[in-house]
């Protein structure tokens, strides 16, 4: 187990953490698994790609555009697919189907617009690697790592310290009571969707840079889901820990048994984890509310 693998694993894990936290934000506030998250990632990564090709700007403008696009798509999705369900206090199965359908819709639009082809982001850096001692870190991995943690740190600060952050947490805890306290529930749900979409956009760009860009890129969202199951559904810190753990495990598996079988083993790890410790690392098992 060389430090090189660990470093690569943590870099990969930090992207998974972005996905898992974006997923957990929605899970907390509306108590359902948002399966549209993957297609939202793809769609905003494509918008970032078009922006990069058209303007030839560097990585950071592209990231910002993708995050904005993801956030707006998130808000749009909330309006199209979930607003009426919230008003109706629909049972969670409707949210579920709505999110799957919304995901199919995003994916269909991307497929119609881009075709089933593969795209590559333009190369953003001249020097590809940074070496520290014997460890070689690819430039994109380093940027992925640093950006992810800065964004996650900002998110935690926002949720814990600011007024809107407290509002989001209050609505997540109990929407009815929050609304009686004068909190605008719809606005805060919109904000949560914006934040989750922005995180999705960021992870979409990173995944697009790391692999290639294609309409089914969003299937990688499964990694984020697995990470949040390992970490404990609905827990932010658990999602981050689970994601980093998953990144390291996956890099190790790829190194020793090849990338083809890696999904099989990550699935088995998740299954064993659920059998032994179903509440996840963070230990906050969300029970079905009556």
């Amino acid at each position: 187990m060389s430090p090189q693998i660990i470093v690569n694993g943590i870099a990969l894990g930090s992207v998974y953490a972005l996905i898992a936290v974006g997923f957990a934000l929605i899970f907390n506030i509306l108590k359902f698994s948002n399966f549209a998250h993957g297609s939202l990632m793809t769609a905003s990564a494509f918008i970032g790609y078009i922006f990069a090709i058209k303007t030839k700007l560097g990585l950071f403008p592209v990231i910002i555009v993708s995050m904005l696009a993801g956030g707006l798509l998130g808000v749009l999705g909330e309006f199209l697919a979930f607003r009426r369900l919230v008003n109706r206090k629909a049972s969670s199965i409707y949210y579920f189907v709505s999110s799957i359908t919304l995901g199919s819709l995003y994916e269909a639009v991307v497929t119609i617009a881009a075709g089933p082809n593969f795209y590559n982001y333009p190369r953003f850096f001249h020097k590809l690697v940074i070496s520290i001692g014997s460890i070689v870190i690819s430039r994109s991995d380093a940027i992925m790592f640093v950006t992810s943690w800065i964004v996650l740190g900002l998110l935690v600060l926002m949720l814990s310290k600011t007024r809107v952050g407290r509002g989001i947490r209050a609505v997540s805890f109990d929407a009815d009571t929050a609304s009686m306290m004068g909190i605008n529930v719809v606005r805060h749900i919109q904000l949560a969707f914006f934040l989750s979409g922005a995180l999705g956009g960021l992870s979409g760009v990173f995944l697009g840079i790391n692999y290639t860009l294609y309409p089914q890129l969003g299937n990688l969202v499964t990694k984020g889901f697995i990470a949040s199951v390992i970490g404990g559904l609905g827990s932010m810190s658990g999602a981050v820990i689970g994601a980093v753990l998953l990144g390291v495990i996956e890099t190790l598996l790829i190194n020793f048994i090849g990338s083809g079988y890696a999904p099989v083993f990550t699935f088995l790890i998740m299954l064993v984890f659920l059998l032994v410790h179903p509440q996840g690392i963070a230990g906050s098992n969300v029970q079905e509310k009556a």
Partner: protein
């Protein structure tokens, strides 16, 4: 004529799998995003038993269904005790794992190139008989004690538990029934097309089935079946618009969920007494509705 028959056969095979999904989603309120993977398991196991070991078709089909139910038991075991979100997330991971496994074990399954050379054993009669049996099975299940327990836990797990229903056990039974039926539809599929490859069984396929059930009405078996027939036959007829197919599907279903959440058919079920009422016009019109609502209790 031949082409229409094949479209109809594919649609009917879908009806078998959607009957399974109905038990899981319509009756119990759980979602599986790896259901297509169970279809793949049924197709591959039966296909390989027949091609490699020269086993008779019927025996291979039984082994394939039993084998996939065993795998379903292992997948379901950790999830039935937990919140219903877990089963969707775990089956999603399961689907990815199965696709990876099928793609990797090239010597056994043919990998991404697919597995071909399966003899064509499925004919239209077999498919029709299968559909009748599975619809009848699910129809009886719905009005049986088990079905009512499933419906109870779907609307409120805690209350169902308080009434003495063994919730994890019922969830597991529903999951296994649906896995078995989906695997069987995989057998039918493999022995009809004579060729399967891993890309046919992604989670999109599972999602499409769930969408079909919701399109027709999540509380109505009749609705689910009609929706399946329409939604799986229509795109075959409209080949030219295949790119837009998913787009229209999604828009349609979003509209239904937002504006008519009970689906096209609501709680309506077609029952024998119902059909006879339909032919005897001039009867009181209300009788039909009474029969329909009484049936659902």
């Amino acid at each position: 004529m031949e082409a229409y028959l094949s479209v109809l056969t594919f649609a009917l095979i879908s009806v078998v799998s959607v009957c399974g999904i109905y038990v899981l989603t319509g009756l119990t309120g759980m979602f599986s995003l790896g259901q297509a993977a169970f279809m793949a398991i049924g197709a591959y196991i039966s296909g390989m038993l027949v091609v490699r070991l020269n086993m008779p078709f019927a025996l291979a089909a039984i082994i394939a269904v039993a084998g996939s139910m065993l795998i379903g038991f292992i997948v379901g075991l950790p999830t039935v005790r937990l919140r219903r979100d877990y089963i969707s997330l775990v089956t999603l991971g399961f689907g990815e794992a199965i696709t990876a496994l099928l793609n990797q074990s090239v010597q056994v399954t043919g990998g991404a190139m697919g597995f071909s050379g399966i003899p064509q054993k499925t004919n239209f009669t077999l498919v029709v008989v299968s559909v009748i049996v599975s619809v009848a099975l699910v129809g009886f299940l719905k009005v049986s004690k088990y079905g009512r327990q499933c419906i109870a836990l779907k609307s409120d797990e805690l209350a169902a538990k308080a009434m003495g229903i063994n919730v994890p056990r019922m969830k597991m039974i529903a999951f296994l029934i649906s896995v078995g039926m989906t695997a069987y539809s995989g057998v039918l599929y493999a022995f009809y097309t004579t060729y399967v490859d891993p890309s046919m069984f992604g989670w999109r396929k599972s999602a499409e089935w769930v969408i079909m059930v919701f399109f027709g009405g999540v509380n109505s078996l009749t609705g689910s079946i009609v929706a399946t027939l329409i939604l799986s036959a229509l795109p075959e007829m409209l080949r030219f618009a295949s790119e837009y197919r998913m787009f229209f599907y999604s828009v349609l279903v979003l509209l239904i969920i937002n504006f008519k959440p009970s689906g096209l058919f609501g709680e309506f079920e077609l029952s024998p007494s119902h059909i006879s009422k339909l032919f005897k016009r001039g009867h009181k019109n209300g009788a039909v509705n009474v029969a329909a609502s009484g049936k659902d209790q």
